[in-house]
Each structure stands twice: as C-alpha cells, then as structure tokens.
Symmetry: C2
Subunit: 202 residues, 2 copies
C-alpha cells in the first residue's frame, strides 16, 4: 500500500491528515461503513476530495488508516509490576474501548469485515494484533518474575484473555452507547479472577 | 412475534417449513443478509412468495427462524461424566460450528446485527443463549460432583468459555470455509487446559 506511506513534510499536512481521520471516524459512526463516502468525509474535514485522494487513494485505505490511528490511541501499555494489575488494566481498557464511539466503530468494521476480506485483514492488523501482543507481553513479564509458570502455547493467550471481552461487547444485542465505560470496566473486573486462574495464578 | 408461532397442522406444512428454512440458509450463504430476498428464498424452495408470507411475515422473522432452526441442530448436550470431557465436547462443537456453511451464516448475521437491533436480539436468543446455558449446565454438574468449587458468578461463564472461540473464529481475517472442522477442533483442544484451570480444575 504505497498510498498509506506518510507524506508529512509540513505540520499543516499532519494536522490536515488528523482532521481527515477524525472526520472519517465521525462519518463512520453516523453512517456505518456502507454509508460512508469520501465526499462526506472531505466535506466534514473542510477539504476537497482531490486533497483527500492525494493522501488516501480509496475509501478502504482511508477507513483502515482511521481505524489504525484510533487503535494506537487506545492501546496503552502500563507496567504495574503485578500480573493482576497489568491484566486488570488491560481488560478494563479493552472493555471501555468497546463502548461509546469506538465501540460503534468496531461494530461497524466487524460487520463490514464479514464480507470484505481486505477490511477483515486490516481489522486483524490494527485492532487484534496490538491486543494480542499486549497480552503476550504481560504474561511473559509475569513468567519472568516467577509469578506464574511459563506458558508454552503463547499463541492462544490473546484469544483466552481478550476473546471474552470482544465476544461480550461485540456480539451482543446491547448497543455500544447503551453501556457506559464504568459498567464495562466492572464487567472486566468480574472476568479477572478467572483469567488469573487460567494462567496459573491466584 | 405472533407470526413466529408454529402452525404445523399437517406433515406437509412441516416439510414445507423445513424446505423454506433450508432455502433461507442457502440464500444467506450465497448472498448475505443484504442480498437475501424473500422472492429468492421462495423460488429456491419451490413455493410462491404468498405461501412464504403466510408463514413468516417478513425477511427478518424468516432469517431469525432459519438461524434458530440451525442453532437447535448444532447444540448437543452430551454428559460425559467429567468436566474435561464435557468442556472438550462443547468447545469442539462450538469451534466446528463456526467453520463452513454455519460459520458463513454466523458471520453474515453478526455483520448485519451490527446495525440491525432486531437481528442482534435474535442472534443473542437463538445462538448465544443456548451456548451460555450449556456452559452453565456443564459447570453446575462439575460443582455438584465436587470436581470444582462452586462458581458464584455464573453469569460470566458463557463469555469465559465460549467467548475465546467466538472471538477467534468470528473476528478474524480467515474466511470460515478456509478452516476445516478438524483444525477448528484442534484449536479448541489447545484452549481446554486454560479453561479448566480458570474453573478451578486441572
């Protein structure tokens, strides 16, 4: 994807890119993937479609870039010093990120990805891979400290830890904006003791 | 939903209903929810649309009925006598059911449910609730046998056990027909020891 390479020579370009990505997220939240047009995004960001297309050559690359930017915003990597603390932060972050506007975005993308392979691939790369690697880091640190036995099958850890959260908040009848972040985090706290035991702790 | 009530006075009606539901699943698999028309389903089942509408008054109630019939087909409830045996069967069934045609169906419905509340509700009732109750049964039996300590927070069990499977097979870039049931069941077996430990066993 050469069109996704940054061409950010000037601060004005970076600010304009950011405005376009924010506009993309806003239009996605309002209209869904199917209803999003590059014209609507350009209008919302106050630029011409020609300007948009100089930076992103298609609706798909634009949406993927917006999702990637959002995912980067959401993935923090605190090191609390304990497995329990790290996992609590991770589960709470993930649950909270699947409510509100980012929750609506994820639902729209998961829905579209069901019949759009390129988007499914981007979803895996921008949303799932960072969560997976964060889980693996947290578990590896705990094993290095001797808090838990080493895990041989690290490839399953992302699904084990983040899977219940994603399944609960993405495949349920409840709309993401009906769940407030506090409720989502309280749900994550209920999951925590089970996940700790699964990893050989607690 | 009064139109969903069975009116199966004669065996011929039951056979025709079954044919319509099978036709619905086939058209869903080919065209997705957005592309499905009641006319296409009626034509495939060899009946008039008037006949279809006498039984199901809308596309939505038809698809929901088809999904419910499929879910009933898939949910078996073996009692192997051990928590490990019961969970292995449950995880393997669930993983296998998310490959092939039923996997395509689930993806299509999850995708559509992202912006269709009635369908999201039906998905929860027909697909998620039976899995959830099966998990709860299996865990309750194990606790009753004294194999594991009693679980206070049973409301989380469905997400804990089935969530990783659903997340792995429904929110991934891999198309359901690229995964054969054997591969899916082997993946389920990798998850099993973690889930057993989470429940206080093994």
């Amino acid at each position: 994807m050469p069109e996704a390479a940054p061409r950010r020579g000037r601060p004005r370009d970076a600010a304009r890119d950011r405005a376009l990505l924010e506009a993309t997220l806003a239009v996605l939240a309002e209209s869904g993937y199917g209803g999003l047009t590059t014209a609507a995004v350009a209008a919302r960001a106050g630029v011409s479609t020609a300007t948009l297309y100089r930076r992103w050559s298609s609706k798909e690359t634009l949406v993927i870039a917006a999702a990637a930017a959002r995912a980067e915003d959401l993935v923090k990597r605190p090191d609390t010093g304990t497995l329990e603390g790290d996992l609590r932060a991770l589960l709470r972050d993930k649950a909270a990120s699947l409510t509100g506007e980012s929750g609506r975005l994820m639902r729209a993308l998961v829905g579209e990805a069901a019949h759009n392979d390129a988007l499914a691939e981007a979803l895996a790369t921008t949303f799932l891979a960072p969560v997976r690697s964060r889980v693996e880091e947290v578990v590896a640190r705990a094993a290095a400290r001797g808090d838990i036995p080493p895990v041989d099958d690290t490839g399953i850890l992302g699904d084990l830890v983040a899977g219940p959260v994603m399944s609960h908040f993405l495949i349920t009848p409840q709309a993401p904006d009906e769940v407030d972040p506090e409720t989502a985090m309280a749900w994550a706290d209920r999951l925590l003791p089970f996940v700790l035991r699964a990893l050989g702790s607690g």
